[in-house]
């Protein structure tokens, strides 16, 4: 039985295409994906992301616990957020997540909906020896994201908090649209924007207020379809497509969230240290499609007759007007300008390794 978010009825009345995703009935699109995509690039859009999972970690050992579980450094200032991977002992990725540091001894972990049960089991299995409490708040925490270059102008109307003073990957707690909320300047679109966390009963108030406040900027609701094209256009990996248990953060070019320079004894540290030193056999790269067609998850990549990689995500990039993809290629083929071929519907089409992000004009601060 799929769950409904507190905004489900809104999506129905907006005539969204609704599909089950990670156990929730989620809006995939409300109209045309390209239109939703461009609204976020050019002005502002609102997302219901209530399916995401939230774990609250509190206690004297909160920092030590996260420093064991996650590859990135939990010693950020209160009010800051950080992106991290969480790894298995073999270096494979359990999940990628955002962590908000709420206080000296309090953090909020936000994990992928599709990994929620697995992540929770993983967290629970590592509690021993730490003086902490972890609470799974996923079932009563709603999340509304407001993303786009005009997002700030929409959100300032709805809170007394000084949003200007909140930098990218920072957050505050306060009233938003009159309800208690965590107000974070984070997102998954490459644009400036906010993610508002609130309790279920407050979600409709927040959603309606956001839509009203955004009216003058032409705000529209954005489904998970455009969420995917937006993240891909800026080269953000998606768990389950581009990263999973079989890939490591070093291979996925997420070495910047693996803090080997600290002395934190996180899970998989030695394996990842060794892989970094020896260089992995493959790398996740961005590729621009120069031929006709769109390589997608699973499309093989060739150099001449030799298979040298596999595509993990592909799409038309609406803001660029061309097809782009992410994929793993053997070491030696990851260099910028490297020319490969993708086999799409039995035909070879040319792709070229390019620098990420594909789209560089985002308003992200």
């Amino acid at each position: 039985m799929n769950k409904k978010t507190p905004l489900y009825e809104k999506h129905v009345s907006l005539e969204a295409t609704i599909q089950p995703f990670a156990g929730y009935l989620m809006p995939i699109k409300y109209g045309a994906i390209k239109k939703e995509h461009m609204a976020v690039r050019e002005s502002v859009g609102a997302f219901d992301l209530t399916h995401m999972g939230e774990f609250r970690v509190t206690g004297t050992d909160a920092t030590a616990f996260l420093d064991k579980l996650l590859t990135n450094d939990a010693s950020v200032k209160n009010g800051k957020a950080y992106y991290s991977t969480m790894c298995y002992p073999d270096g494979g990725i359990v999940d990628d997540l955002i962590v908000y540091r709420i206080g000296d001894q309090e953090y909020l972990m936000v994990v992928n909906a599709a990994n929620l049960d697995k992540d929770w089991a993983w967290v629970e299995s590592h509690l021993q020896g730490f003086d902490i409490k972890v609470v799974n708040e996923s079932d009563d925490t709603a999340l509304v994201a407001i993303q786009g270059p005009r997002a700030l102008e929409v959100c300032v109307k709805l809170t007394d908090s000084d949003l200007d003073s909140i930098g990218y990957y920072e957050h505050t707690t306060g009233k938003f649209a009159g309800v208690d909320a965590l107000i974070a300047r984070t997102g998954y679109t490459g644009e400036d924007g906010f993610e508002i966390y609130m309790k279920y009963p407050d979600a409709v108030t927040v959603w309606d207020s956001v839509m009203e406040a955004g009216k003058e900027f032409g705000i529209i609701p954005i489904g998970l379809g455009a969420r995917d094209t937006l993240r891909l256009e800026v080269g953000y990996p998606l768990y389950g497509n581009d990263i999973d248990h079989s890939t490591t953060p070093i291979e996925a070019k997420l070495g910047w969230v693996v803090k080997l320079k600290t002395d934190k004894p996180f899970i998989a540290r030695e394996v990842l240290e060794q892989q970094k030193a020896e260089k992995p056999g493959r790398y996740l790269v961005g590729m621009e499609v120069t031929g006709r067609g769109i390589p997608r998850h699973g499309t093989p990549l060739y150099s001449g007759d030799r298979k040298v990689g596999i595509v993990t995500s592909g799409t038309i990039a609406p803001a660029l007007g061309k097809a782009v993809c992410l994929g793993y290629v053997e070491r030696g083929f990851q260099k910028r300008g490297s020319e490969l071929e993708a086999e799409v519907r039995g035909k070879r089409i040319s792709v070229k390794v390019v620098k990420l992000p594909f789209y560089t004009q985002g308003s992200r601060k």
Binding site: I33, T229, A323, V344
Partner: protein, 127 residues
């Protein structure tokens, strides 16, 4: 409910076929274009290519998905819709008119009569 005009025939693979003088125009049905979503690229066959009933003649790329399309008849491709190169969304906007894909000169006109009628196609897609 999708549009299922009576003046064309259909295939189970969601092409429509319309007699147009001595050739047949082939396109994607309204039902299928709606299922695929915004089509962003159309890869069409070459004029002069051999068409074999049931064979893939090209492919359509939507934002989220890709599908091949098939020839409903045996014969030869005598025209392709070059408008689609610059404007593939015509397939979404006017699937039965400006969004046609290719034209085929049939080697056996009786194959047309064997295609699905509007009524049969309606049942096929469960509407």
């Amino acid at each position: 409910m999708s549009s299922i005009p009576e003046n064309v025939r259909y295939t189970e693979t969601h092409e429509w076929v319309r007699k147009d003088g001595d050739r047949y125009l082939v396109g994607l049905t309204d039902h299928a274009q709606h299922e695929m979503g915004e089509i962003v690229m159309a890869e069409l066959p070459e004029v002069g290519a051999e068409a074999t009933k049931g064979d893939a003649m090209g492919g359509l790329e939507a934002v989220k998905t890709a599908e091949d399309f098939f020839s409903p008849l045996d014969g030869e491709v005598v025209a392709v819709n070059e408008e689609l190169e610059a404007n593939p969304s015509l397939i979404n906007e006017e699937p039965f008119k400006g969004g046609w894909l290719f034209a085929v000169k049939a080697s056996d006109d009786s194959q047309y009569d064997g295609l699905l009628t509007a009524e049969e196609y309606k049942i096929h897609i469960g509407e």
